[in-house]
């Protein structure tokens, strides 16, 4: 779909149809790849000079404040703007019943999301924007704006509407997959587990609220936005506004976190664009934190029925993972709960299904590690339950079910170090200190326990391109519509270019987050580093060939180091070889390797928790993760990604719970005081280890996604530790003290 805008020309393109056994990153000698370099954008971030979406200094800016519907389902019948328009400083109140977007768009889509805001599909849906000369006036006017509605009955209660569930169309995975006969295997196996796990809606809660500044220049729109995937976001925006995608430029140099919530466009972008057009002046629209909760995107709640059947040897004969999630009527995205279950363990009988209840709650979409983040909770807690029934150590059980080929598609894994990660983690964590019997270890009024879970996250490659230029002064510029949402893209892309071209990282200028630069898939699904990184690799590979030609040597005889091209007994500064400058564009596309191999990154999570025997309070005391995700591009930023994922897991296990009022769908806890993301005191000094690995089937840089691996399995490790500590198995997440109290052992 992106082909049309990727264009042709002098470029180095690669479709991953074959393994790529050799990588220039292994033969280059600059010595910067993988090293724990400080972020190249770090000094700007710590000094407050990195510019986020709402911070561009633009003349004659009108301040826009969005207004959300105060009903859960129905129709807007009138917006009476006369009173607020009379307020000093108010410029206008604008809505466009047809064009304003009702739902945000999912990531990577190239079409407009559901539009039309006269119909209200969920509480808080954005219906208008108030424009004023100052933020204070706009906010005041927005709060006073009088809107009339026709109320309609809505579906807000998951349990009450479960009989309305539907099977959604296939997405990344089929909605329903069955192999063999799980029911029969369950009746025949000597040991089985059947349990239902429930996880609540969650919010990405990136620290920067969604924000857009819209600036029109004749019929061309520049939108300074906080978006993870500018290339496809610009297409979504163009389609929403009914203009050519060539007329939309998105600039997203710095993005204050996304975690999925900024994959597709959100309501403030279209509202700002329409308002700016109507007013004939630039408009800034920043969502209030409550609006980020109300009207962007949530991770769906899930109900997961787990069925495991095993022989006395611990080997699984059946896995059932049947899930029920929710989304708005007409939206077909489903949380792919069982995505990791497809390939993690053996078992010839399998049922992995996804059904969805249509509800009038804000859009469900991707949040960090869609699928695995919550699906691994069900699977890995059930594995813990099975281990106890079998009398197996939980690590031995997982090792007994490790496999060397995909259990559903007769194809190998591209690389997989699950058992080794479990083994290494067990040694480093001191797993042998764990008492397999729960509630045995006490320290004063605290009960101490340990838990483990496997980590797995499917690996993806997305079509992406990047341009690399070597300038006459020997410096270089890397440009791409790729983004850095905190992941470290600026740094790792500079390291890839610096390594291959032999240019010190400090002499490489990075330009990311601008759709005027070569298109890229952006940041999401942990594909960013590998996709954009491969594009940079390919551009540098072509530049290397050009430099060899300029040196009149075979590329294999050329060494590039510290700004010098060395070959045929000569050492020439790059600046001299490139004349006025030399450039190349690289482009990577997924190919046959995607289907020929099951690609994923793996690891193991270990947690030690303390449960207060009096209050049920849970404290995470230690946590350790071992991860194998192909080549680590920067040990510092990769480790930080893992810390972040593990902490998301602590939140999912213990505190995060988005609560919908069952009478109207309104979010009860729609701010950061009531929706509890982990704070500093909730997180101990987490320990992260990597296993050395290269994946030659994934891409030419031999790396796999890491940003979401750290969350996949983190929550069940904590949950299993809670069980080991106090003997209470909570299957409804998060594990708050009220759910533990009744079952705690006597003091």
């Amino acid at each position: 779909m992106l082909d049309a805008i990727f264009g042709q020309g002098d470029r180095n393109s690669l479709t991953m149809d074959k393994p790529h056994p050799d990588s220039l990153l292994d033969t280059s000698v600059q010595g910067v790849i993988s090293r724990p370099l400080d972020r190249v954008d770090g000094p700007f971030k710590v000094s407050g000079t990195a510019t986020y979406a709402a911070e561009y200094q633009i003349d004659n800016l009108a301040h826009g404040v969005l207004v959300g519907a105060k009903i859960g389902h129905g129709t807007v019948t009138a917006i009476d703007a006369s009173a607020v328009k009379a307020m000093p400083g108010v410029i206008d109140v604008i809505t466009d019943y047809d064009t304003f977007i009702r739902n945000p768009q999912q990531g990577g889509e190239t079409t407009a999301p559901t539009q039309g805001v006269k119909e209200v599909g969920y509480f808080g849906q954005i219906v208008a924007i108030v424009l004023a000369e100052s933020f204070e006036v706009a906010r005041d006017a927005a709060q006073r704006l009088h809107i009339e509605y026709d109320y309609a009955a809505g579906a807000y209660d998951f349990d009450a509407n479960r009989d309305q569930s539907e099977t959604p169309p296939a997405s990344q995975i089929p909605a329903h997959y069955t192999q063999g006969n799980v029911d029969k295997a369950m009746t025949q196996a000597p040991v089985t587990v059947e349990a239902t796990y429930v996880t609540p809606s969650q919010n990405s809660a990136a620290m920067e609220p969604h924000a857009s500044i819209a600036v029109w220049n004749d019929d061309a729109l520049t939108l300074y936005g906080s978006y993870q995937m500018p290339t496809s976001d610009a297409q979504q925006l163009a389609k929403s506004l009914g203009i050519s995608e060539k007329k939309v430029r998105i600039i997203a140099r710095y993005i204050g976190g996304g975690f999925g919530s900024k994959l597709g466009i959100a309501p403030e972008s279209v509202a700002a664009a329409i308002a700016a057009k109507r007013l004939g002046r630039p408009v800034k629209a920043v969502m209030a934190r409550t609006q980020v909760f109300d009207a962007t995107v949530r991770r769906s709640n899930t109900e997961q029925r787990l069925r495991l059947a095993a022989g006395k040897d611990g080997k699984l004969t059946a896995i059932g993972h049947d899930s029920l999630t929710s989304n708005l009527p007409g939206e077909d995205y489903f949380e792919p709960v069982g995505i990791g279950t497809h390939f993690l363990y053996r078992g010839e009988n399998r049922s992995i299904t996804h059904d969805m209840v249509p509800l009038n709650l804000l859009l469900s979409g991707s949040m960090r590690a869609p699928g695995e983040a919550v699906g691994m909770i069900g699977l890995e807690c059930a594995m813990d339950e099975l281990a106890e029934k079998l009398g197996f150590d939980p690590i031995d059980l997982r090792k007994a079910n490790d496999i060397d080929a995909d259990p559903e598609k007769d194809i190998p894994f591209s690389s997989r170090q699950l058992s080794r990660a479990l083994q290494v983690g067990a040694e480093k964590f001191g797993w042998d200190q764990r008492n397999p019997r729960p509630a045995q270890r006490r320290e004063g009024e605290w009960l101490i326990g340990m838990g483990v879970a496997s980590a797995a996250r499917s690996n993806m490659l997305q079509q992406s391109s990047a341009k690399v230029e070597i300038h006459a002064d020997g410096s270089a510029t890397v440009s791409s519509a790729m983004t850095d949402i905190g992941t470290g893209s600026y740094t790792i892309l500079a390291q890839i270019a610096g390594e291959i071209l032999g240019i010190p990282v400090e002499k490489i200028r990075m330009s990311l987050g601008d759709t005027n630069d070569p298109p890229a898939a952006g940041s999401g699904g942990s594909w960013g580093a590998t996709s954009a990184g491969s594009a940079v690799y390919l551009a540098c590979e072509l530049l290397r060939d050009k430099l060899a030609k300029a040196m009149d040597v075979d590329p294999g005889e050329l060494t590039l180091k510290d700004g010098q091209a060395i070959g045929a007994n000569r050492s020439v500064p790059l600046g001299e070889l490139v004349g006025q400058g030399m450039e190349a564009t690289g482009e990577i596309k997924p190919g046959k390797m995607e289907k020929a191999m099951t690609q994923a990154s793996y690891g193991a999570h270990f947690a030690e928790v303390a449960v207060n025997a009096v209050t049920g309070e849970v404290r995470v005391r230690r946590m350790l993760g071992v991860f194998a995700a192909g080549r680590v591009l920067n040990a510092k930023t990769a480790r930080s990604q893992c810390l972040g994922g593990m902490t998301f897991g602590i939140g999912a296990a213990l505190t995060e719970d988005l609560i919908h009022d069952q009478r109207n769908g309104k979010l009860v806890n729609r701010d950061l005081a009531e929706y509890h993301v982990p704070v500093n005191a909730d997180v101990p000094q987490l320990e992260v280890h990597f296993l050395d690995e290269r994946d030659i089937y994934a891409n030419p840089i031999h790396a796999k996604g890491i940003g979401e691996l750290g969350i996949s399995g983190a929550a069940p490790a904590v949950a299993n530790a809670v069980y080991n500590a106090c003997g209470v198995r909570v299957r409804e997440f998060p594990i708050t003290c009220d759910k533990l109290l009744d079952g705690l052992p006597a003091l």
Binding site: D38, S47, A54, Y254, A635, K636, R639, V679, Q685, D692
Partner: protein, 178 residues
Amino acid sequence: MKFNINGKTHDAEVDVRTSLLDLCREHLGLTGSKKGCDHGQCGACTMLVDGRRINSCLTLAVMHEDSEIVTIEGLGQVGDLHPMQDAFVRHDGYQCGYCTPGQICSAVGMLGEVEKGWPSHASADLTAVELSDAEISERMSGNLCRCAAYPNIVDAIREVAGKGDRQPVLEAAREIGA
């Protein structure tokens, strides 16, 4: 009105409802201080006012004509970073960077509080405060970081406070030969 920010006098005409945060961000072009919630819940807007850390979204600009205000821009700039800013870079005490200016201002203010002997919930002895990791974490818990750089933030602050330099990332890098 006149405001003393980062040692300079700024003139601005503000609405009585304008927060100190919006004065800086919307009127003075000082966008280093961030707005994450506008409700005093996330700490991204933390500044130093008369030497104390405060949530600048929860105070009105008109209350601060006589205050000495230091924002992240005033602590240090690229090429001349404050030791706390420098430590955050080296320890990777951030990812997306949006909470970072608030974290750094908060950390500087917090060390001042410890120096004065102010105890916290984590203090074992209310009369003799020792800056442990638990103290740092407790005192920094008003500054949310969704990227969750918390362990690295603690490492950065501990180093600046002279309480020991741990480099877990070097260990992780060594294991893969990087």
